[in-house]
């Protein structure tokens, strides 16, 4: 069995390596023609693939998945189409440095169940743009819709002249096989989007990886904020695809001074505050007690389904279940990330306590991901931004749509959001095609006069200290 799996892995990677060898010979024009063809094919199938993903996973809202597919195709294409990713990409006359883009090689792309077709199309486009063959490893719960996405994109790519096997998919859903592929010496990079375990496996594989793990996005509504505007935006974001985006809001933090106003506004806009008894019931079905992680049973489900599972009755048309909590951590299960329309709610005595709560939430499983502030006080916005450990600090913006870029800001549109070293990632950027190239620098001789006019023998003289040497170093001779 193990040998069969190894042979299967070798076969996939051998094909990818051949595709890589052919792909590196393509020029920018040939590459762009392929990317355009794949974007069009994916875009033209946005509705079909969204419906397939919804039906197969049972998560989210198909209309919202259409928007995700649009982001992954039209908007990603817009953002990368004019990027130079082949050959000389820049020259700086002052430094004399020329930058040359080279492809990485075979990229293993791990796809989450929450955004399957959109993440697949996004990763395919950025890999093709950077001339890297891609191997899709889909979550077993979304294998069919990912397979169809791969088929559509691959056929379009081949039609446009792409190398054979430039897009492949791992059909086996076993964890053992995925790990075997991850550790395969012919994999150039793992582009992992998923849960903590998966991202850790990617980083432990021995191959380079860009892994993006969970968030636990705190939202601070400051006294200076426009409260109805803030609440409206939070609802827009948290209900988008029933909260499946890892950048969606997880907890609202306010000061006592505006607590009642904010609660009333949430109620006015069809959100329901759970009683302490109801919170206990929702905790039981939303959080797996042993691991303190969200239960797949509620991920991407609407309020009506969650309420039914929990055995509680909520007003018809309720958009979000609000849980007013007294603390953060293990004793308060709903303080962790839940990708469903459930929000924790906190009130603090003063500004500093409120920000401290946001920091605690940020460090409870979401380090490096995203955070949000609603405020019209620039000083507080900047103070908050410096205190939170988040790759994206979104200001007066719905976090689901804000963090993925394009809609509300000028971040590159992406379904792979870097979380920095806090999230065990190498970058805090929104990953895009430029992250998938090796940049070679041609460094022309531009001697530094200061260095060559300095008497280097002085470094060997132990009696000379820092001031004497540095003074001499910067002296005009």
């Amino acid at each position: 069995m193990a040998e069969n799996l190894q042979e299967k892995a070798d076969e996939i990677l051998d094909k990818a390596q051949l595709a890589s060898a052919e792909f590196h010979q393509y020029n920018q024009e040939q590459t762009d023609r392929i990317v355009e063809a794949v974007f069009k094919a994916g875009f033209n199938n946005r509705v079909k693939l969204a419906k397939m993903a919804r039906e197969e996973t049972g998560m989210g809202v198909w209309e919202h998945k259409v928007i995700k597919n649009v982001l992954a195709t039209q908007l990603v294409y817009e953002s990368i189409k004019n990027e130079k990713t082949v050959g000389v990409i820049s020259y700086d006359a002052r430094t004399g440095i020329t930058e040359i883009a080279q492809p990485l090689g075979a990229i293993l792309a791990v796809i989450p169940v929450t955004n399957p077709t959109s993440t697949t199309m996004f990763k395919i486009l950025i890999c093709l743009k950077s001339r890297n063959p891609i191997i899709i490893s889909a979550h077993r719960g979304a294998a069919k819709s990912c397979q169809e996405t791969v088929r559509i994109c691959y056929e379009a790519a081949l039609e446009a002249g792409a190398p054979e096997d430039c897009i492949q998919m791992i059909s086996s859903g076993s964890r053992e096989f995925t790990q075997l592929i991850m550790a395969h010496p012919k994999v150039a990079l793992i582009l992992a989007t998923g849960g903590t375990g998966l991202v850790k496996a990617a980083y432990s594989s021995g191959n380079p990886a860009i892994g993006v793990g969970p968030g636990n996005v705190p939202v601070f509504i400051d006294e200076s904020a426009d409260i109805p505007f803030a609440v409206k935006n939070i609802i827009t974001s948290k209900t988008f695809d029933n909260g499946t985006i890892c950048a969606s809001e997880q907890a609202i933090v306010v000061m006592h001074t505006i607590e009642q106003k904010v609660i009333e506004e949430f109620k006015k806009q069809d959100c329901y505050f759970l009683t302490p008894e109801e919170i206990k019931k929702v905790e039981k079905i939303a959080i797996v007690e042993e691991s303190m992680s969200m239960s797949p049973a509620v991920v991407g489900q609407p309020v009506s389904v969650i309420a039914e599972k929990a055995g509680i009755t909520v007003p018809e048309g309720t958009k979000i279940l609000m849980a007013k909590l007294d603390g953060i951590g293990k004793s308060y299960p709903l303080s962790v990330e839940v990708l469903a329309p459930i929000l924790a709610f906190y009130a603090a005595g003063d500004y500093h306590n409120a920000v401290n709560m946001c920091v605690d939430l940020n460090y409870l499983g979401g380090i490096g991901h995203s955070a949000c502030i609603y405020a019209n006080d620039e000083k507080r916005i900047m103070e908050y931004a410096e205190l939170l450990n988040a790759g994206r600090i979104l200001v007066n913006t719905p976090t689901s749509q804000g963090a993925v870029g394009y809609f509300y800001n000028h971040l590159p549109p992406s379904f792979t959001l870097g979380c920095g070293t806090g999230g065990k990632n190498i970058t805090t950027e929104n990953i895009t095609a430029k992250n998938l190239i090796n940049i070679q620098r041609v460094c022309r001789r531009k001697p530094n006069d200061l260095w060559f006019s300095h008497d280097h023998a002085k470094y060997l003289d132990e009696s000379l200290n820092f001031e004497e040497i540095i003074h001499d170093y910067y002296k005009n001779h």
């Binding site: 390596q17 051949l18 052919e22």
Partner: protein, 103 residues
């Protein structure tokens, strides 16, 4: 696209390719190659050399043909000669330059 030259003294069959060896071109030449190969019972008494001096692009299907011919010819009987640096690099990236004896 491909011409053959046999040197009976050295017992070397040289296939000289030219131009762009994309998938379509490879489909056209693959049958010719098979017919011309001096392989019997999986062993070639002659050495086979693919000369790529005038080749400026090779597809993955061409590399597959090289692997197939190298296997048919047997150990030490196949080589690829006169690659332009860009093509040499392509074989390097494929990871097959040693097996194919690329020079």
């Amino acid at each position: 696209m491909v011409t053959f030259n046999y040197n009976p003294d050295d017992k070397v069959l040289t296939a000289t390719f030219s131009g762009r060896l994309d998938t379509l071109a490879v489909q056209r030449v693959s049958e010719v190659i098979q017919v011309k190969l001096p392989v019997k019972d999986g062993i070639s008494e002659d050495k086979i050399v693919f000369d790529l001096q005038d080749v400026d692009f090779i597809s993955s299907s061409f590399i597959r043909i090289c692997v197939s011919v190298a296997k048919q010819a047997g150990p030490g009987q196949f080589s690829i000669a006169h690659c332009q640096p860009f093509i040499k690099k392509t074989f390097k990236i494929s990871g097959l330059d040693d097996i194919l004896n690329v020079t």
